[in-house]
Amino acid sequence: MKFVLPIILVAATLVLMALAIFGVGQSAGTVGIATGSAVPGLGSKADTSEQALGSFLTDIRRRNWDRAYSALSKTSSVDEPSFIQEWTGSNGSLRTFSTLETYEARPLHATSDDAQMRVRMRWTTPVGPVEDVRDLNLKHEGDVWKVVWPKFTAPTVPAQVIPVNYLRWDLVNGGADDGWGSRNVDAPRVRIISMNAVDSSEGAVVMGEVVNEDTIPAFVNVNATLVDGAGKAIDDESSFDKIAHVLLPKQVSAYRIDFPNIGLKNVKNVRMDVKATLVPASADPVIGVMDQKVDPDAQGKSVLRGQLLNESGQTVNIPHVIASFYDNNGRVIWVSDGYVDRALLPQTSEPFAVEIPKTLASKVQNFHVVVNQYSLGKS
């Protein structure tokens, strides 16, 4: 026992550790805190293209940039700072707030020397999870596989002066009120101009459009309460981020209110409530929406895609696209939204895409896009 017990304990410890390394008992950890790398010799190898890509993306997830960069093929024409910036984002874009959480990779094409993999990356961001699909090429170099990373060229614009001649509304509160908006002025006139309730795979959805009929800007929230046959409220929800909250005079925004896990069959009535407050606002920055079209994406889903053009001289850090889709009667049949993960620099454009549910894609006759935005220091 004197010799056997230590051997048993040490052997059992090693066996248990080996079992854990090979996948038994893995646990998720917190996100965004450096947890370090694997002990040398225990990290995954790059003997196959799948392993190489997995190891590469694990390093990206852990922000082990040196290791990730060392996994690039020598044919990659990118320097390390540019490579890191492409993953970490710049100019206060959504990507600068994002962390790669999970990924799935599947091969599209493979030979003994090169391979192409489609990677579906799920990012955690302040505005919710964002998915990004990217096709990556890998090359067999020596006895390992390496990732080929193309050089990203950031858009550049010539030096210029952009005159600002758009309207802006300021508010003077006239007191030490801690609240925002105005307390002593009538609320702006805001009206819901359409409402449509439908069942979706995730529950009931109430959507439509709201207009600011006033000559002053309004901060708008739309709330809806589902009421059953007995007049009792089933649930109440708000438009949350499926609306452009700041509406300039005469501006229209689509809204969507989700009621998860509730079917419309028990709903007798929908009580709508729009709340508007006077707020300071500006028509600048102006963001143009161009080249809009509905077509399938790489995964076969129907998407509305286009380009956002920043026509102003200010950087828009996080653009938010809200698209409303209409049937041939002009009724809103769906509202989708999406965030663009690159900042919209002055006088440059960025692509966007928002998804349309498969069941509705064929019914879409028209669409309308509103662009909401977040700019650092201007909340």
Partner: protein
Amino acid sequence: MAALTVGLGRLGLPERGNWRPIATYISSKPCRQILNRSSMQLALEPASLSTAVSYPREGYSRPIPLFAIVLVALAVHGPLLLMQLPAGSFDTNFHIFFASHYAHHWFDPWNEKWFAGFSQTTYPPLTHQWIALLSNVFGLKMAYMVVQLIGVLLLPVGVFRFARIWVDDRSASHAALGSVFLGALAFLVYQAGQLATVTSAALYLNALPYFYEWMTEASGGSLIKGIVVSWTAAAAHHVTLIFGLVLFAGPVLWVAWLDARDERVPGSVAGVISRAMIFALLVGAGVAMVLAPYWLALIQHPIHQIPIPHDSRANFLLNSITGINYFVIPYGALILALPFIVIRGASSPRLRPLLIGFWITFIFGLGGTTPLPRLLLGRAYEILTFERFTFWATLMAMPIVGVLVVELMDRFHAKAAAGLALAAVTTLGAALWWLAANPFRPAGTTDVDPVIAFLNRDGHDAFRYITLGFGSELAKVSTYANAGSVDGDYNSARLLPEMTHYGSAQLTNAKFYGSSGMAALRAMLSHANRYGLKYIFVHDPYYEPLLTFVGWRKIETFGSGQITAWSKDDVPPAHKMESDAVPAPWEGLLWGTVPMAVSLLAIFLELLLPVRRRIPVPVEVPARAEQPYVA
């Protein structure tokens, strides 16, 4: 070896290798004098004998007086606690928040400041109630430090008493001294702020020798004191007692059984087993009563929430920094002693139960580095955090480490003393250095006073609030603000669906839980009107885009822009949320009296009822000495 012979000769002991006459000798007067120093003396352990009797002329060959060890603990940890070093730890503000509630509502455990109302009967109250009591003299923060200091001072006493079950006084005293410098202790006290875990472990270690004495000697005094101290430990922290039953008490029961079987103690095997069952029954019944409101709350609302990630469940081999945080720092120089612990623990039959207990605790402390904790604990694996197992493992290792220290001191004298002192100080120093160096460190330097002032003026407390990016400072805001929050720095009492349906802990730390955390935050923000959630305080610009897009506006800036206040205009004032978790008045009465009464009884018994120590009278001894331990 020569010195040993001299030592044995001076006491009239037979020479090494000829142990048969020792049975006769042990009942002789000189030996009884030696053994009289400790009823737990390992009379039959060659190591114990050798270490107990060798080098009698050397100053460091005697046990270190317990009082001196406690003074060392006071000298080391007293200043650190007076400097309020744990104030920046993860859980200190949480404990102070709970204590603050007891200070104001001793008999009403329903606290409306978190989660729109929750019951404090979901967490054992003893340490919080002591803080609340002492806060009348010291104030809340210093009262916390005082209670933590008492826990830290009780720990070496507990280690000494626990170690004497296994080894001689001298080794036990070195084990106790070593426990003052444990990296795991510094980790829990200064980084994690686990007041209840440390205090409960210290109490539990003090209870175990009584358990052993009761089993082997049928001492009624030991039974009473063991039970009351165990109840007190449970009133401080239930998890320690539950796992302690298996991990600590299991080996003690095992060794008592071995001692009875080999007739080293007066009790029979059947007597040991039956007395252990009596002890367990009485402790179990008492814990059921002392913590009755806790059990009722648990039965009414079992923990069904989605598991919350914790890095102590990570695989340390695949996450090097996590490994440093949860293994290297807590163990420190003990890592070097691991081979000795295993080899020596396996060499001696009496130490084997301790070794097995240590190994299981050690494996649990490794979290997700092995699959064993998940396999054995099932769903509880996702609820528990595992740094406490590492702490317990270091405590269990200390008796054997004490033997190592004695052997090194006997062999290398001053050099060993210097090396061991260096190792101890380095271990503690590394844990303190890691407070500032680790990436998990809480952001404890935020000035939240303007936030508290904002919430306490102009009727702002009519609404609820949350903080974002405040970390453990949320509890500080909650302690001093009159307004309630829908968030809270405590996972077990959460009942709001916006929090329990996602694998995320506090909303204030939402980003660290990835998509789950942000989904929980979005769910809460979408129901702001329902809860009267009007104010959000942001200490991390990460959250600003979300607040902007979902309809909140910045209204005020505090502390040079470090903290911003956000508001939503259409939120109605908060109203009281109906809950079936509100404890009955009798539960509040029980909660406010029994745990404190039990702890006072334990103090009374310890101070005023000394237990009569009995000398074990061995009957049979090994014919041959095992491996000599002293060269």
